[in-house]
Amino acid sequence: MHEQETKRRDVLGLAALWSFVSAIGVALAGVARLPKPAVLPGPLRVFKLGDPAQFAVGSVARIDEGNFFLFRGERGFHAISSVCTHLGCIVAHTEDEGFSCPCHGSRFTADGAVIAGPAPSALPWLELALAPDGQLQVNAESHVPKGAYFQV
């Protein structure tokens, strides 16, 4: 008699306890999603740069709002991020020496490869495309392998 009572109470108690715990668990799982933004604030990181013809062959354009350099060479367009892969400072570009970072001394070749300093990886090349409306478009969020020139 006493044993049975204890047993039944346990089943009910455990069920109640676990249902409560699982409800809290699900709630916490939902809550844990909150801090990660569903949509990133700020303007789109896709930049339309206008008619590709306006960039002369052999020219370099520094696009400040997108933090990248746009090059047009013999083989076509390419865009290289100007955000240092070490800790996010903005690198400078010179025609002869490639890129150099003012913060911790990382240095990169003209096509982005690391040659000195603490930077762990090369400066990424960004994805270029022709927008449906005919403008040259750079997606600063999307990387392409080095040497992927974009032909118009």
Binding site: A16, G30, R33, L34, P35, A38
Partner: protein
């Protein structure tokens, strides 16, 4: 043992020892003694007594209201911190950030809804809790001071709610702050009428204290934000701690000590008899002298697990309730604040609408003086009514029950009649357009109803000769007045605060 082996052995046992050291007892309790220990050895549980009287677990006695309050405060704290992650307290950004919480923040809409509805639950529960404590006479010695702490918590709850609903910076928010700040400056009505504003401008001082400026703007928003997320929650949490501690130190929840069976020998063993102000004898429990599990002579049961189950049930109830409300109903969000044109009618949340109705007669009387009178009156109750009889019984017995019903009818009829008269015939200013403001402040429907209620209470005192009965009469009358005025403000007032039978009759404006 070689040191390396000892190291590895210790490493292996670390999880087990971690658990032991964390739990102190190290396993679920099985005996009464262990149950007691699990309670008073735990920071979170030791706020409770080791044994709980069965009366405290009787649902029809407490309705779990205090626990609902605690649970909703916990829910509010958690959801509040979550919405703080995205909320931006700036007049330019606040509205947009609330819209973002509604539209794109993961689970943000649901969490904000829960936050809003839990606040409503808390306000309802705080009024009901106060009524329960009053009608069961639970404010009497030694619980007088805890009644005052409870009153402070009532005020804090309303202040939290007020400071909270103006953070979205929508139309409701903007005009609520404006009205609130001008209620704070309403003592000017009196100082102006007396001609002493030049020397004693308490109204302007209070307004500037609230707004940080003479108009509602960024300074005001930041002040209310700080109050809402830091000052008031902290004060509430501290006072809640004091409130719980006093509940325990004052002998647990009140109960009818006369109804308990006299202590006796049980199974031939002498039983510890506790004074009625204590729920348990700690040492008795520790020494294992309580004779039968769950059958202590004063009708108490071990808090572990029985009280904990009750608490868990109420927490689960509160969470389910707020989730359901938050799922079905979106928290209101009006148009963005527009200083050019107020909403018409600009209504506060329901629990302030009784006050708003009073304010529509006189800002100072309705917004400052009458609430102060009511608060002071409530605070004095335990010091004026010191009759120890009837504690722990609803209305203190049949006579109180009768007084309650009669007073409820008297309170309802008088306030309804007065409101009907005011709607039908107007008030002093309609009859004597040039009447002095001081006369309106002194004599308006708000003060008249207070006077009627006080008169009724005094008459009850005279008739029954019992302070307790006259307190019941007064409290019931004010409860009736609060309910009717709130209904008046919520349902029967439309654009330009005109009387309408139902919101569907409101003209478009």
């Amino acid at each position: 043992m070689p040191p390396t082996k000892e190291f590895l052995e210790n490493l292996k046992k670390t999880p087990e020892r971690l658990r032991e050291s964390a739990l102190r007892v190290g396993k679920l309790p099985e005996t009464d003694r262990e149950r007691s220990q699990s309670t008073f050895h735990n920071l979170f549980l030791h706020v409770q007594s080791v044994r709980t009287h069965r009366n405290s677990l009787r649902f029809a006695y407490t309705f779990g209201l205090g626990l609902i309050l605690t649970a909703s405060f916990v829910v509010l704290t958690i959801t509040g911190i979550l919405v703080m992650v995205y909320y931006k307290p700036s007049t330019d950004l606040a509205y947009q950030s609330v819209k973002d919480i509604h539209f794109v923040v993961p689970a943000g809409r649901f969490i904000r809804n829960i936050h809003r509805w839990a606040a409503h639950v808390m306000v309802v529960a705080v009024f009901l809790h106060m009524a329960r404590v009053f009608y069961t006479g639970s404010y009497k010695k030694p619980r007088e001071f805890n009644w005052l702490v409870g009153l402070a918590l009532l005020v804090l709850t309303l202040a939290l709610s007020f400071t909270g609903y103006l953070l979205p910076w929508d139309q409701l928010a903007f005009w609520a702050v404006t009205i609130g700040a001008n209620i704070a400056s309403s003592p000017r009505e009196v100082t102006e009428a007396l001609g002493i504003t030049r020397w004693f401008d308490i109204g302007a001082f209070q307004k500037q204290l609230l707004l940080g400026a003479n108009h509602v703007g960024q300074e005001a928003l930041i002040r209310f934000y700080v109050l809402h997320v830091a000052v008031l929650p902290l004060l509430t949490a501290i006072l809640m701690g004091v409130h719980f501690w006093r509940v325990r130190k004052d002998g647990g929840l009140s109960r009818d000590v006369t109804a308990e069976p006299p202590p006796a020998l049980i199974r031939g063993r002498e039983v510890q008899v506790f004074p009625p102000t204590k729920t348990y004898g700690l040492m008795a429990v520790v020494r294992g002298r309580t004779p039968v599990v769950g059958r202590a002579p004063e009708g108490s049961v071990p808090s572990w697990p029985h009280l904990l189950w009750a608490e868990l049930a109420v927490f689960a109830f509160t969470i389910a309730l707020t989730l359901a409300l938050g799922y079905w109903f979106d928290a209101p969000l009006k148009e963005m604040a527009n200083p050019a044109i107020p909403e018409n009618p600009a209504k506060a949340p329901w629990y302030f609408l009784g006050l708003q109705e009073l304010v529509s007669y006189s800002a100072f009387m309705g917004g400052v003086a009458i609430p102060m009178i009511v608060l002071i009156g409530l605070g004095l109750i335990p010091y004026l009514d010191r009759d120890p009889r009837g504690v722990g019984k609803w209305f203190g017995g049949p006579e109180g029950r009768r007084i309650f019903w009669v007073s409820l009818v008297v309170g309802l009829i008088s306030v309804v009649a007065l409101l009907a008269f005011t709607v039908q015939f107007g008030w002093l200013r309609n009859w004597f357009p040039s009447i002095a403001q001081l006369a309106i402040i002194a004599l308006n429907p708000g003060t008249v109803i207070v006077a009627i209620y006080v008169a009724w209470s005094l008459w009850t005192l005279h008739r029954t000769g019992s302070i307790r009965m006259s307190a019941i009469a007064l409290f019931t009358c004010f409860l009736a007045g609060f309910i009717v005025l709130t209904a008046m403000g919520s349902v029967f007032r439309g654009p330009n605060w005109q009387f309408y039978w139902w919101p569907s009759q409101w003209p478009v404006h």
